[in-house]
Amino acid sequence: MSKVAVDLVKVTKIYPPNIVALEDVSLTVAKGEMVFLTGMSGAGKSTLLKLLCCIETPNKGLVEVLGRDLTKIKPRDLPRLRQKVGMAYQDFKLLPDRTVAQNIGMAMDVAFENFHNIRTRVRELLEKLNLEHKHDTLAAKLSRGEQQRVSIARALANYPTLILADEPTGNLDSTSTGLVMDLLHNYSQAGCTIIIATHDTAIYRKTNHRVIELSWGQIISQGPSTPSQEKP
């Protein structure tokens, strides 16, 4: 049984016409590890996450997620893998004409989860993210911060093995940020692998988790959180 959740070997991603988003990136994330990806805008954080959930394919290199080589994965095996990977998108990807509960429930729905379990799980997550009063509100009527929390709740709904979060606290106040990070820490302690792309130094400042800094598509530093990585 491999102890590696994510393995990238010399991965290069070039967008047309010739925009290098990632260049020869090699990275290994162990199972149960919580990792922060940092770097300025355009550094390649989002591209890296997109490669991990098969939204993008690399031009070169190997991408292995939960023991599956994504460059060789069969289309019919992709849904099962995606059900194990919870992704919170930077642009939320919520359906505006669906309620908060329906948006969160979708992740379990596609896995043909029991309806009772879906209802219970949705209520549990909403409670944890202080959104229980928004259960039947349409996603379109939520503030950006609320939408962000719903997006995170959806990523966590299906008890994923790997959680990818792209700027999960970008629109949140300090209280909500605290709620989200506490929740993610709990998942990490429960054995879940978590990769968070963020600009927000506050969320990793006081932790011992590995912080990987990207710049112009390359990893320039990685290691436990240090004062040098904490930019104001």
Binding site: I55, R76, R80, Q83, K93, M106
Partner: protein, 295 residues
């Protein structure tokens, strides 16, 4: 079971979202089925009426002279050699005269001054029920004209021919309305599914990212097509049944309509029409998905 429940809920959501388009498609499918089924019903009834007329078909050969017993046997043999018949009866001049007199009833005195042997002798042939095609009747009639002593053969030639052409015309209309049914159901359903797919592109994209399988995404669209076919053909056939009952009620009583026993489709035929519609709509749905649903 879980899969089915999820799919049904998903289909319900889709239908709710695009109900106006779905309703228009349903009406189009119903109307197409109604038009096709109407002409098919007319055709089946005309064919059945034709078969009934065949039961009463009689060919009469008028002869120059009354045939003697040996000649009668010879003629019977020749007739049966060409086409097996139900029965053959010979009518003498005297019998023909008496039959005419009976038919005239109270006006029989007009025959008083006539020679009782003025009518020609004849042979009446009642063919078997399988002699129901105009071409075969014609061929048989032409053969009978070549029999020794035959002067003329009669079988209601004009009427049979008109009936035959009417049946042919209805058959062409059935084919045309069948083609219309295929085109409208397939294209309309394909168009509706295409609209639904385009309408839900964002949702489908999210479903894919969340790990929805191809079956999870495709089956609701397939079910939509199937439902369109099932409901559309059901409504079309029900409307036709109502129309049929109304027409039957309208023409109850004496008259031409009363000569024939008009009947509706058998449950098997109705089932076949419904199955065909379901199949066509599902094909439309699949073709649209193949073109527009990128999974």
């Amino acid at each position: 079971m879980k899969f089915l429940v999820h799919i049904i809920i998903q289909t319900g959501r889709n239908l709710q979202k695009t109900w106006t388009t779905q309703l228009m498609t349903l009406l189009t499918v119903s109307l197409s089925v109604l038009i096709f089924a109407f002409f098919y019903l007319v055709y089946t009834n005309v064919v059945r009426a034709g078969e009934n007329l065949g039961d009463h078909l009689r060919l009469t050969i008028y002869l120059e002279e009354e045939p003697v017993a040996e000649m009668q046997a010879e003629l019977k043999k020749k007739i049966n050699d060409f086409n097996e018949v139900e029965s053959i009866s010979f009518t003498t001049r005297q019998e023909a005269f008496e039959r005419l007199a009976t038919q005239l009833g109270d006006d029989r005195e007009i025959l008083d001054d006539m020679d009782p042997l003025f009518l020609p002798p004849s042979i009446e042939i009642y063919p078997r029920k399988d002699l129901n095609s105009l071409a075969r009747i014609k061929a048989f009639s032409q053969y009978l004209e070549t029999l020794p002593g035959a002067t003329k053969v009669q079988y209601g030639h004009g009427w049979v021919e008109r009936f035959h052409y009417f049946t042919k015309l209805v058959r062409v209309i059935v084919f045309l309305s069948g083609a219309l049914l295929i085109l409208t159901t397939t294209f309309m359903v394909a168009y509706t599914i295409r609209l639904a797919v385009l309408n839900r592109q964002a949702e489908l994209e999210i479903l894919r990212l969340l790990g929805a399988t191809n079956n999870y995404i495709r089956t609701p669209f397939l079910l939509e097509g199937l439902l369109q076919g099932l409901l559309g053909s059901g409504i079309g056939l029900l409307a036709l049944h109502a129309l049929f009952r109304w027409i039957k009620m309208l023409f109850t009583g004496e008259g031409i309509i009363h000569l024939f026993e008009f009947s509706f489709f058998s449950p098997a035929t109705s089932g076949m029409i419904i199955m065909a519609s379901v199949l066509l709509c599902t094909v439309g749905s699949v073709s649209s998905m193949r073109k527009f649903l990128r999974i």
